[in-house]
């Protein structure tokens, strides 16, 4: 989550979920908190009972809006205008938290003279290359004095200091503009802006909550950035009841980012070596990725320890610790880009584990078509799903599909040991309750088997390309004889390796501060160092939830078990709490150390009055009042210099790639640098396309997740069918009644769903102008299988990507709608019966049904 990473230093939620109860005001935007995270939402309800004001800004009136104090409707994809206007409101009325801003952010820094803003260039920043569709970042930088130190103006008067750059940039983000672009009534906007201002400062704090409603846009990262700037202005980062909580989707999605299974990251947010960045040797790599100042001065320790963890004794100083074993990137290898490559024949074999892109992927049809050009496809899952059964999907012809398909049955979370990292970066261990059903195995079992088998297959090979496999350390055999006999590896041994150990003694490393760059330590993920301080203690298995609400003895949160990040900022520059009411972490004069209800996110004994040393490297560069220790300068970044983000140093509003209106702010319609794949199997609607006059937004609902819920009768009966929510006005216009079948269409494809006509969908009037209808479609369904089903909205969404993290835009597109069902295709096998009930509900013929009753078992209602 680089939106947070580039602003504060770490790509994780800054907040400990239960800490929300301390908020005086909570702004929920880009998230349907109550529906997507109901149990987490209990802290919001608790805060409300304690007197906090709950604000929900969303295109739809949802179950979150129902319990919020204020609901403000907005057009999907216009959040930067809404939040930018609040920034403007704070700056023009001088309502921001001055002491916090001047001390803890880079607002006083002076931007270089050749930087040109969107104001100067009508919607683009300086350095844009219209042919390559990329920016040259050389002008996005600071003014420096003769000694090369960053020029600052503590009084924040200089016209090029960040604060004034912001003033100028956001001047045109006015309440009128909000009404005109977002369609949010002005009185609502002003009420919200005032509430945020009123509930921030020394004595009060406001928390922000967002989810994929902000990230899944072509400029999604910038949505988060705008919120970050806002929270810095309000002085809410690092303080109790403040911060920004990123509500993440899957159970271990944070863990899968920390210990990354992502193409561009190694564990611990170390970048993958890239041929494009000339990171051919360890030295080159460390040169580009070690920062002179701030925490990332430690990169060499973490990288070398990682290589030692991967390749053990084979990794020596002489051979660059086997750095060359790591494959090199040559571009964007993200999922959707890979999918396109797959379709074009580059990829021959594909592992898909616990994910169902055939239903939940963008351009789901292309995804499934791409699988046809594979030689082999391995799916590890617990249920039949659209992806593994792509070859018998509606309209497919198996006799023309050469792909060899394997389904390996997976154990569920109850059937295995393991650790998952939840949305507040908390690691929790889960014990195995029962043996896996049938032949099912844990994913660890499969990975362990493949690794060992491949080592065998390559044994004796002299080909240097095979060295990585042969040298890869793999000692995870279970000590429990019963489990070992079944081939179940020890996840504890894996976690011990991630935590790290001394290569000489094999003893566990207790803290990432102890990691070395001389090969004396190994660590598979430095940010997790400390979770397994000794062979006996797995702190992710701590289960004492008593005491303070920070519950430091329940599970273990990275880094170093800190619950709220950057919590140095909960004290003023002198180290005293901003106020008694918001006491959290402070400087203990007598003990000469930082203390409080949380683990201080700061060098434990670095006094608040420690002066900054502009010539020093590493942490000494920071003063005792620089809370954002990961950053070069220790400051919260209002202006992100040097192209850490590829599309803008400060967020500017661009319309989504598909929109119903033209950009009212700039000549530049949509993000100048977003990722496009304009090809026949990925057709886009035109930016403003009269054939697709309605806004379409997607989301998920409480009762459904996807394949994990669609087979469970208790959940399937609650939301049995794909549906779309439309407002009564549009329904009348199109002659649609609630419960009817309707067909939605984009240039890419069509889907059918049941209509849910509801006043909760409200047509928006953009200023005095256009009346906009928004249609909502849940993203939980897939047409082929299970008790609850219906077409996947993925069939409507063409792939267009955010330039920073290649996240697709599926929260805003344009579409058309008509009554009635889409044409039904009738190819594919006819060997499996469909229960009468299903037929009556879905009109599926024999053979399309691949549900639970497929294999000749008795059907509902049949006699024995």
């Amino acid at each position: 989550m680089p939106g947070l990473g580039t602003s504060f230093g770490r790509g994780g939620a800054t907040v400990w979920l239960p800490d929300l109860v301390n908020a005086d005001c909570i702004l929920i935007e880009g998230s349907n908190f109550a529906e997507a995270h109901p149990v987490g939402f209990r802290f919001v309800m608790e805060a409300k009972e304690r007197g906090a004001t709950i604000i929900h800004v969303d295109p739809r009136f949802t179950r979150t809006s129902a319990v919020a104090d204020i609901y403000a409707p907005m057009r999907s994809g216009t959040d930067i205008v809404f939040l930018g206007a609040i920034i403007n409101y704070l700056l023009t009325n001088e309502r921001y938290f001055k002491e916090y801003v001047s001390a803890y952010t880079n607002a006083p820094f002076i931007v270089g003279a050749d930087f040109k803003d969107t104001e100067d260039l009508d919607g683009i920043f300086s350095g844009y290359d219209p042919d390559e569709l990329v920016y040259d970042f050389s002008t996005w930088t600071w003014e420096r004095d003769e000694k090369g130190h960053i020029a600052t103006d503590p009084s924040m008067q200089h016209e090029r200091c960040v604060l004034n750059v912001l003033r100028k940039h956001y001047a045109r983000y006015t309440p009128e503009m909000v009404e005109r672009v977002c369609g949010t009534p002005r009185h609502l906007f002003e009420q919200i802006a005032e509430l945020l201002a009123k509930n921030s400062g020394r004595d009060r704090t406001t928390a922000f909550a967002y989810a994929v409603g902000w990230t899944q846009h072509t400029n999604g990262v910038q949505f988060v950035r705008t919120a970050a700037i806002l929270q810095l202005l309000l002085g809410n980062i690092g303080r109790p009841g403040g911060g920004i909580i990123a509500l993440r989707g899957h159970a271990d999605i944070q863990g899968a980012t920390d210990i990354a299974t992502l193409y561009d990251l190694l564990p611990g947010y170390l970048p993958m070596p890239s041929a494009n960045r000339n990171e051919q040797t360890l030295t080159d790599y460390l040169k580009t990725n070690t920062k002179k100042t701030g925490w990332w001065v430690n990169t060499p320790k973490y990288m070398v320890s990682l290589l030692k963890a991967f390749y053990g004794d084979a990794a020596t100083k002489e051979n660059d610790y086997c750095f060359e074993y790591l494959p090199q990137l040559i571009g964007d290898h993200s999922q959707l880009v890979t999918t396109i490559a797959m379709k074009d024949g580059t990829v021959q074999g594909y592992f898909c584990i616990g994910q169902n892109p055939g239903a939940s992927g963008q351009n789901a049809e292309m995804t499934k078509a791409a699988l046809e050009s594979l030689q082999w496809f391995v799916n590890i899952d617990s249920y039949d799903n659209e992806t593994v059964s792509f070859w018998r999907r509606e309209g497919a012809n198996p006799s023309k599909i050469a792909t060899e398909v394997f389904f390996l049955p997976a154990a569920t979370v109850l059937e295995k040991d393991g650790t998952m990292t939840q949305t507040s970066r908390l690691l929790q261990f889960h014990d195995k309750a029962v043996e896996p059903a049938g032949e099912a195995r844990s994913d660890a079992w499969y990975f362990n088997w493949f690794a060992k088998r491949l080592k065998e297959l390559y044994a004796g090979s002299t080909d240097p390309k095979d060295r990585p496999i042969l040298d890869m350390t793999w000692n995870y055999d279970n000590d429990d004889p019963h489990e070992r006999e079944k081939g179940e590896p020890s996840v504890n041994k894996v976690m011990q390796e991630i935590n790290g150990y001394y290569t000489a003694t094999g003893e566990q490393v207790a803290s990432f501060a102890d990691l070395k760059d001389d090969g004396s330590t190994a660590s598979g993920g430095w940010i997790y160092t400390g979770v397994f301080p000794d062979k006996q203690t797995n702190r992710a298995r701590n289960r004492d939830g008593s005491g303070e609400y920070t519950a430091l003895n329940w599970g273990w949160a990275w880094p170093a078990n800190r619950r709220t990040l950057y919590n140095r900022a909960s004290a003023d520059p002198q180290g005293k709490p901003w106020s008694e009411r918001k006491k959290y972490v402070w400087w203990d004069e007598t003990a000469k150390k930082w203390t409080g209800v949380d683990v201080p996110d700061f060098p434990a004994t670095k006094a608040p009055d420690t002066p900054a040393n502009p010539d020093a490297t590493g942490m000494d560069f920071h003063s005792g009042a620089d809370p954002f220790i990961m950053m070069l300068d220790g400051k919260g970044q209002m202006f992100v210099p040097g192209g850490a983000l590829k599309d803008a140093p400060i967020p500017a509003h661009y319309e989504p790639q598909q929109s119903v209106v033209e950009n009212a702010l700039y000549k530049q319609q949509s993000s100048p640098v977003f990722g496009r794949y304009d090809r026949d199997d990925n057709r886009y609607n035109k930016p403003v396309d009269e054939n697709y006059p309605y806004v379409l937004t997607t989301y998920r609902i409480t009762e459904m997740s996807g394949i994990m819920t669609r087979y469970v009768p208790w959940l399937a009966e609650l939301q049995p069918s794909a549906f779309c929510e439309i407002d009564p006005e549009l329904a009348v216009k199109k002659g649609i009644k609630s419960g009817d079948w309707v067909t939605l269409s984009t240039a890419l494809g069509e889907m059918e769903a049941r209509a849910l006509v509801s006043g909760r969908m409200r047509p928006l009037r953009l200023g005095k102008g256009k009346r906009v209808h928004q249609i909502g479609v849940p993203y939980n369904y897939g047409s082929m299988v299970a008790l609850a089903r219906g077409d996947s909205v993925g069939t409507l969404i063409a792939i267009s990507l955010d330039p920073n993290v290649s996240i697709h835009e599926s929260k805003t597109l344009t579409c058309n709608i008509r009554p009635g069902r889409r044409p039904q295709y009738r190819e594919g096998p006819t060997d499996e019966p469909v229960p009468a009930k299903e037929r009556s509900v879905f009109g599926q013929p024999e053979g399309q049904w691949m549900g639970p009753k497929a294999n000749g078992q008795r059907q509902e209602g049949e006699k024995k």
């Binding site: 129902a66 006043g759 008790l787």
Partner: protein, 281 residues
Amino acid sequence: MATGFFTDTTLCIGCKACEVACKQWNELPSDGFDFTGDSYDNTSELSGTTWRHVAFVEQMSVDDGGLRDRWLMSSDVCKHCTNAGCLEACPTGAIIRNEFDSVFIQPDICNGCGYCVVSCPFGVVDMIEKFDPEGVRYNLASLVEDRREEHKTALQGNGGVAGKCTLCYDRQKLGFVPACAKACPTDSIQFGDVEELRARARKRVETLTERGMQAQLYGADDIGGGVGPLNAFFLLTDRPEAYNLPAQPVLPSTRQPDGYAAAAVAVLGLAVAGWMIFRNA
């Protein structure tokens, strides 16, 4: 000790955890997979196999910018009446009042006469049809064997017994909180000693009224019609009808005296007539 539910609809977020937790614990089937188009409510009503039901009431304005818009959610359940129509009607004594003062159907006694179904003024009780573990709606075939036997013989087995909320009698006996109340993420469903709950509820109404909300209790005190107070009562922010609750429920047995009297009068009259006819002939 009398235990019960206080369902505070102002805290409900409509997640339906109560419905699922109830079915999971009581091993109940789904009621089918029909899309209704009625807001987010696809189970529609309490049934013999749906013992918690979340109602979704949309009150949306078209004119005033939606400031007064409301989306009411309320988890309905058996009221466990002080004077229970179903209990009074049951001819077999299958329905009893247990030590927790809740109304409990003994599935091993019930013979499926269905008289309780028409005797519940709240339309809670209904019949459970055939138990078919292999059926799509049950998906319970993989249950532990003795659990399946239990279902076959004592519970839904062979169909035709009445079903409704047991207030998790079997959990209470172990000292556990009922499944729905335990699951409810926002404490909209609160379980405990009925008297305590009633006190808490009255306080809650005061608090909400101070905040300028309109709120009223349903069934915390005598609801009239001879039904008396309810052990499972509700805090509502609109008329009961909006949630499909009767504004004036009546206990059926209160009509028996009149009924028998009228019958007696008729018998007497006709008997006299008959006596005269036969005598005079």
